[in-house]
Subunit: 320 residues, 2 copies
């Protein structure tokens, strides 16, 4: 099969979305945006050897490439609609492409996201995904809305993906019974779409955790112009984490490890009850881990009321 046949065979999937006037195969996709909505757009690239191992299972890679992008829509509180996929491959390996598509489209169908276009090119393996979603006019969970006194929350448990990575690298020996769990968290992050939607009228700010809590929360402190304080004893660690590493190591992984794709958000104290109600049906655990204070934008860690210093802070792709 040549480039065009591959695209036709694997990437031309019928969608049930009526808002796709023209799907893949023409110069542009043509989409119908509902009236009184905002369009939310996000783009992420995954590069082989940087964001994933070259031998990562293609099914997991297809899932993850879409998941990390949907996670950005979740962090904005948007309804996912459409996706474009730019796939750069060293060669055409139909078996690989089929498995990649299986992971990609399983997640796309779960959220009723239609593939509307993209590109397939020859080159070192990398994937750029652009997702689009909609929001009611005037809504959107920005990073800049946090207020002094707001509680800081996260979904799920933190650091499990980083633990999974260390396990794969052979740096940390995870007990047999937890291996599957941490590998799954590392390879199959689940975007918190429902949580994001439920937070639309409640959270004052939000983002998704891709580079580690401390580094990511710092974006909220800068955009909102205030200080965040995290109480380490509140940071949610999984059983796998607690039964594998020391408390200090657990905090390191939870606070500076990347790839969690959980949401971190701030909520005014006044809305605490509403938050419980709104998230009750999302099936996702959430935890209050700190509070916003006035002061210079930075993330402060405390343990039993005393300041605590982390070894490493956040993931910078260009860091030596």
């Amino acid at each position: 099969m040549n480039e065009f046949d591959i695209i036709k065979h694997y990437f031309t999937v019928a969608s049930h979305r009526k808002d796709v006037v023209m799907g893949p195969g023409d110069d542009c996709a043509l989409l119908q945006v509902p009236p009184n909505t905002l369009l939310a757009v996000s783009t992420d690239t995954l590069v082989s050897g940087v964001h994933f191992f070259a031998d990562m299972k293609p099914e997991a890679l297809g899932h993850k490439a879409l998941a990390v992008n949907l996670s950005d829509l979740a962090a904005m509180g948007a309804d996912p609609c459409w996706v474009s996929l730019a796939l750069t491959l060293p060669e055409i390996d139909e078996n690989w492409i089929e498995q990649f598509c299986s992971g990609f489209f399983e997640l796309a169908e779960y959220y009723n996201v239609a593939l509307v276009g993209g590109d397939m090119t020859k080159g070192p393996l990398s994937i750029t995904v652009t997702v689009q979603g909609t929001l009611p006019a005037g809504k959107g969970l920005k990073r800049s809305g946090a207020k002094v006194g707001d509680g800081i929350y996260v979904t799920g448990t933190l650091g499990d993906a980083a633990l999974g990575l260390q396990q794969v690298l052979g740096n940390i020996a995870v007990p047999e019974k937890y291996k599957e769990f941490v590998c799954h968290k590392f390879e199959h992050p689940h975007p918190r779409i429902l949580v994001g939607q439920a937070l639309r009228d409640i959270a004052s700010s939000a983002l998704d955790l891709s580079d580690g809590l401390v580094g990511d929360l710092a974006h909220i402190t800068r955009a909102s112009g205030m200080r965040a304080q995290i109480e380490l004893e509140q940071v949610p660690l999984s059983d796998a984490m607690q039964n594998t590493v020391s408390q200090e190591q657990g905090w390191e992984l939870a606070l500076s490890g990347g790839d969690d794709y959980e949401l971190c958000f701030t909520v005014p104290e006044l809305y605490r009850g509403q938050l419980e109600t709104a998230l009750a049906n999302c099936g996702v655990k959430f935890t209050r881990i700190g509070r916003m204070y006035s002061g210079e934008p930075e993330v402060e860690l405390v343990f039993e009321g005393r300041p605590y210093q982390l070894q490493s802070q956040s993931w910078d792709h260009f860091r030596k």
Copy 2:
């Protein structure tokens, strides 16, 4: 500078577009789509060593990365609005980034396109751009609308970019007085936005020429279910082409060379007069080069009424 500083310094450009509710720097961009419009979306990737030489001037690369995407909007007849840029770089070279941005933003400003987001990652040099534009509801120059009897047209002259490439490769010696012209056509393609907009109510089908006329026009024949006949004596060749290579070589470059980014479109005979009027103010030459016939979808070449056979057909990125 780290990743975030670079993005802030070079890629956070103030836009005058009032429809950008949230630009780069949050989890998603938030955009306002006007009522009664369709959203047109297109994505293209350029990979170093495949689509451009690793030592291509970064200013030209920035221009071209955006131009080839805007060309897809032009082919649909859309008004360009927003762009996302995913840039994968082997290292941070601020001088390179500055020049890349200069080429990218000069073109973006020309068409009032706002950069609304993207990603910067470490890896082998490649660029994925996603552009978005709008169309009045019900409009859009699809590939599938050609009818038997429609004339086939192209803008500009064909093959000059391919001639520029052969000149750079040292395969063809272009006379000194034409070198700048062919290099410019190769490195600085100009998207035919105004032509696309002017064709909205006139053309029955359209696409942009990226892989060579014969291969690209074949998409229209398949989508529209009919045969295209091109009269070789009508194919517009530049002075540079005519004064550098033989007529046969000129046709080869014009019909199977890529990177022209001119528009190819079909127009019902009835609209011939309207076409002249509509394109009169675009400042772009256009030429009738053939006609659509009923029959199996294929592109037939004739010279003085006799069938003509090309050596090579179209550019396939995975072709050995």
